[in-house]
Symmetry: C2
Subunit: 334 residues, 2 copies
């Protein structure tokens, strides 16, 4: 356990060369069983712990993966990280994490700071980045995985789902259920490509259909923001039958405001969200939303990275993990 024990100490104790110890450590086949055992014994007796910093420098490979998400404290993003660490840990790799705070400038800073640590690969949230970020990432020469959305022009590889298509399907569900006066609630700050595509999906569907009214408002991405949106809708002279919120957080806030005001959901107002937070299934009425297995998304991202690093050639640069429209009580016509 003593970290002052070095590989050369092990070699001395086992009466072999340092190269041999290194081979044992790295599972090289070219070591006789007897020698291997001698080395393993010496390692155990000395409580030797390899210094991965030195290995990183010599082998030009750190076993560190960098991940950048907008905010670490938001469950949608940290679930992805959970999935990544699960897989990486099983492969002896570790995860460095940083937050961009939805700022392009901070994102670039964090990326540059990470690259100086020579990670073996890097994960970034989202698919639309500044040119500076794109080129920095490209020149880094390491695998880059973009996540949580889809694009046909990834920097390198993307693993996600189509926020646009999900929004389209969700909006169509509402139309199928007979709702004709639709509002979409998007966010004021913290705007990003996922949110943008959800808005775009709503606009695209509603623009092609006739006999519809479709409006868009912006609120803060919070429970209070969602409540505010409902108040705006009620106070407006534009009729509204159904509201799709860009996030479950806002949708739940809207739902709770309806409870307070005695607005019957969905009879008087239908509500749909996006993300399938755990509360969505439990709240009254339960919330119609878009479900994505984010932990699995993280796992897939890590698997792609591990495969790439092992030289297994990736078949596809675009991995669609899909989504699911979950219809619950908040939009169900009686």
């Amino acid at each position: 356990m003593d970290s002052t024990v070095r590989l050369s100490d092990v070699a001395k104790r086992a009466a072999v060369g340092v190269g041999t110890v290194s081979r044992v450590l790295n599972g090289s086949a070219n070591v006789s069983a007897a020698t291997r055992q001698k080395v393993l014994d010496a390692i155990a007796e000395l409580g030797y712990v390899p210094n991965l910093v030195a290995r990183s420098l010599a082998a030009n490979r750190t076993g560190l993966i960098a991940a950048i998400i907008p905010v670490i404290g938001y469950t949608q993003h940290s679930e992805v990280i959970q999935g990544m660490t699960d897989v990486l840990h099983a492969h002896g790799m570790n995860l460095m994490i940083g937050a961009s705070g939805y700022s392009d400038q901070v994102e670039l800073q964090v990326i540059e700071a990470f690259l100086a640590r020579r990670p073996d690969a890097i994960y970034v949230t989202g698919v639309r980045h500044t040119e500076a970020v794109r080129s920095t990432l490209q020149r880094s020469g390491i695998p880059v995985v973009e996540g949580s959305n889809l694009t046909d022009r990834p920097i390198d590889t993307v693993v996600g789902y189509s926020n646009f298509n999900a929004s389209v399907d969700l909006t169509r569900l509402l139309i199928d259920r007979g709702y004709r006066r639709l509002w979409h609630v998007t966010v004021t700050r913290d705007f990003n490509d996922r949110i943008d595509d959800r808005l775009a999906g709503f606009r695209w569907v509603t623009s092609t259909e006739t006999e519809l009214t479709a409006d868009v408002i912006r609120c803060e991405n919070s429970f209070d923001g969602g409540a505010e949106a409902v108040r705006l809708a009620m106070a407006s002279n534009i009729r509204v039958e159904a509201m799709t919120f860009a996030t479950d957080v806002m949708a739940v806030g809207g739902l709770l405001e309806c409870q307070r005001r005695g607005i019957n959901v969905p009879a008087q107002l239908a509500i749909a969200g996006f993300d399938d937070l755990t509360i969505a299934a439990s709240i009254n009425p339960s919330l119609t939303t878009i479900k994505v297995d984010r932990v699995d998304l993280g796992r897939k991202a890590a698997e792609i990275i591990v495969n790439r690093l092992q030289g297994n050639d990736q078949t596809s640069r675009i991995v669609d993990v899909g989504f699911q429209v979950v219809e619950r009580e908040s939009t169900r016509r009686l």
Copy 2:
């Protein structure tokens, strides 16, 4: 930007020695303004990015901090990480993160894997660890910060709040409000020192007071688990006036079950939680709970680490960030 540019290339270009470049990079005072400028120009022209792996090996200091939390996808823990990264990033340090999954064995594995990477310090969630974890951490020789609870016998330093005292204060509030038939709902799996202390606080208060009945049940730590607890309470022939849940997740689940069953909270049943998730303030009725600024807890933990690494002697090994009892509608007597 080319990562094949080395410090020696910069030195050559600036026509100085490698030592001088290193001094400029590390902000040593012993460099003349003119020389410094020459070096900075060369760095800019070459797009040099220092290799922090090499620096780590030479300086015997990585600038990496390791953090272990039970589950990354749970907001309570990832908020702490958010606070840590905020501070660490400002000091040029980065965070490696790992999950223990509430398992002692996994925790030890993750810690050992991290130590091989020679982090400058390590953060672990909770204050009660196996002897193997304690000794491994102690022998590592680096600052160890335990978080999210308090103990008078930390491995090294602890930054947190007293889960025991918080539970005591919350239980007393219920008693002050006139509730006499109390139930505490604790968790089945994922038991840990924070949950244990919340239970102990409840038991301690209720055992000293007379004219009280106090019972404890266990449920799964989820919305459904909380709902189940309410169903058990209603079906029981033991009277219950107020329920304190070990977590807000369970409390919210219980509250939603009351909504479904038409149980008036708090008139028929008072409910209190623990953690102050954002939903607690928005739900109907709003939830009485214990509030802790977890992002700030993370910041403080990182500040302690940064200070220790800079040699600033820590005054206290025990940092209490406090908690707040937030009384809301779910326990308020009309």
